[in-house]
């Protein structure tokens, strides 16, 4: 019972025991690192039109281009180096996933915990509204909102948040409702401390573990949702191509044997989502009291 290690130190100690999760974390870290460093390590800025030449278009992996460097993953229809394009695309995909995930987390957690604290009719109304939203597929909602708002980074973030905050709200509400009537909350209220402080300093931190799990899952799903929307043409503008748009660009050439234009961005997307999910699964297992040793 008497354990001197802080909860955080214990958490990382347990996390290290899972090889798959550590592998996932390393891969995620590596991809974030590569994405951040993309302008420094790529041989070509894929969106500098001056550096592109159509003579290099649709060349297979390993082709040595006119600029003198090898295109390890081939080139696309405009003659872009695909490896460079993928690293730039990762940048945007990860950025979108993190920003949408973070805003969704803050918004959803606030709505969910506040509803759980207030209880009664407010809670019933808000949560039924969220249930209603959850009964629609997220992709449908995001698609409609993205189409209505038009193209653009922030419009897409808004669409992703609108589609995903409900998952955070649902989870936060469940966790917070369980904490709401525990003695330490009543003790804080009977001090008395103001409701806002009790919600954000006592209830929310204790409702956080399940939210962290949902956050990792939702970041992965925000990335794939964004890719889907971009693939369908309602996502990011062509000036900021994410992985989804790269896949879409290569799609017409799939059947003509130039598989690499679509496949490699797809592989990068799969690795990223898989790695995030590996980390998320381990966090979920560790925070699930029923699986605790």
């Amino acid at each position: 019972m008497i354990d001197r290690a802080s909860p955080l130190a214990r958490f990382f100690g347990e996390f290290r025991e899972s090889r798959a999760a550590v592998f996932g974390l390393v891969v995620v870290g590596l991809m974030i690192g590569l994405a951040l460093l993309a302008p420094l390590i790529t041989p070509q800025d894929p969106y500098d039109l001056a550096s592109l030449t159509l003579r290099d278009a649709r060349r297979p992996p390993g082709y040595v281009g006119t600029a003198g460097f090898t295109h390890w993953l081939g080139t696309d229809a405009q003659g872009r180096d695909l490896l460079s394009a993928i690293l730039y695309g990762l940048r945007i995909s990860i950025q979108m996933g993190l920003v949408a995930g973070a805003i969704g987390l803050v918004l959803g957690a606030s709505v969910g915990t506040t509803a759980a604290y207030l209880g009664g009719r407010v809670e019933a109304f808000v949560m039924r509204l969220i249930d209603l939203q959850l009964s629609f597929p997220a992709i449908l909602l995001a698609f409609v909102i993205a189409a209505l708002l038009g193209q653009g980074k922030w419009q897409l973030v808004a669409a992703l948040v609108a589609a995903q905050y409900a998952y955070f709200a649902r989870t936060a509400h469940g966790a917070a409702a369980a904490e709401r009537h525990k003695d330490y909350v009543e003790a804080a209220l009977s001090t008395p401390l103001p409701a806002r402080r009790v919600v954000f300093r006592h209830i929310l931190p204790n409702a956080l573990p399940p939210l962290i799990v949902v956050a990792t899952v939702q970041i992965a799903s925000a990335i794939s949702l964004e890719a889907t929307l971009s693939f369908l043409g309602v996502g990011l503008p062509p000036t900021e191509p994410s992985l989804g748009m790269l896949i879409a660009n290569g799609f017409p050439y799939m059947l003509s044997g130039r598989y690499w234009i679509s496949i490699y961005p797809g592989v990068a997307l799969i690795i990223l989502i898989f790695a995030v999910n590996l980390v998320g699964d381990q966090i979920r297992d560790q925070l699930n009291p029923r699986l605790r040793r």
Binding site: I2, P7, D183, Y184, E186, A187, A188, S190, P192, R197
Partner: protein, 356 residues
Amino acid sequence: MTDGFVTASGVSRHFTPSLPLGERIVAAFGGAVERRSVRAVDQVDLSLRKGEALGLVGESGCGKTTLGRMIAGILPPSDGALAIAGEPVMTCGASPRKTTTRVQMVFQDPFASLDPRMRIGDALAEGPIHHGLVSKAGAVAYVRDWLGQVGLEPDYVSRYPHQFSGGQRQRVAIARALAMRPDVLVCDEPVASLDVSIQAQIINLFLKLRRELDLTLLFISHDLGVVRHLCDRVAIMYLGRIVEEGPTHEVYADPRHPYTQALLDSVPKLVLEEGAEVRFKPIQGELPSPLAPPPGCHFHLRCPFAAERCAVERPTLRPVATGRRAACHFAKTDLNIITGSSSSPAVIASGAKQSS
């Protein structure tokens, strides 16, 4: 009754369970639906003098915790008024809030009453800083001082609750309540979940703190021994009502209500006199459902002295001796008060007690 420091007058608390969906729909369309509510606390009058320790005793489910929570300002009463030094504990209106810091509470389970994600230094400082009892800069010294007062190492400020044992946690919880500098401390079975050896330490801590800080104590317990040790006065509760009240030693020596007698007799005793029989009698029967309490005196179904009148008329809590009250039609009275028909059956009650 209104001259006390802490006063509860006519306080009730009802809990109405929410209806099943089907019945709610029927009700929404104007159908007649029976709504039954639990009267957890039913028209209780209680008062504490300043500096007094009152023990509130009763079986599980008798409403003692609910009454304690109302006095501590956690639950608003459905009816009646609660005041400390004439000041109401909670605001009125649709969503009552607690306004006073003069009453604080110590909870039964020290594993649930401390925020597991907050260092105890922060947990103790939070309230006093918010209410301006101490500045942010002085908070650490203030908290260390209180940890010392309850017999903990002042260096524990940066620890989390999971790093403490049950007894230490209860000390932390007591320090948190006292750091608000309350006049009144409501303790809801504060030792019930602790080991016996630790219980004694915590009881002694209460005795010491009460003396040093001039605290008024409402001590809720089902343990008659603990109450005898700690409290000046005792109030016995049964199914939401107070059935007997008076100075602890008098009530224990000469209980006037049959329920109090039965409760005292049901305590197993370790020391037996030479040749004495084992005087350990459980109370007959089951506690009736609080959803449908019996009419008249709530105890009449289990009472060995019950008469017809008990099933019809609710006995009032009336004076039976100086500073003592009991809610029984037939309670023995030392006062020269003419109370109608209560004179002859009172002999039954007292006679039965002597023979037991």
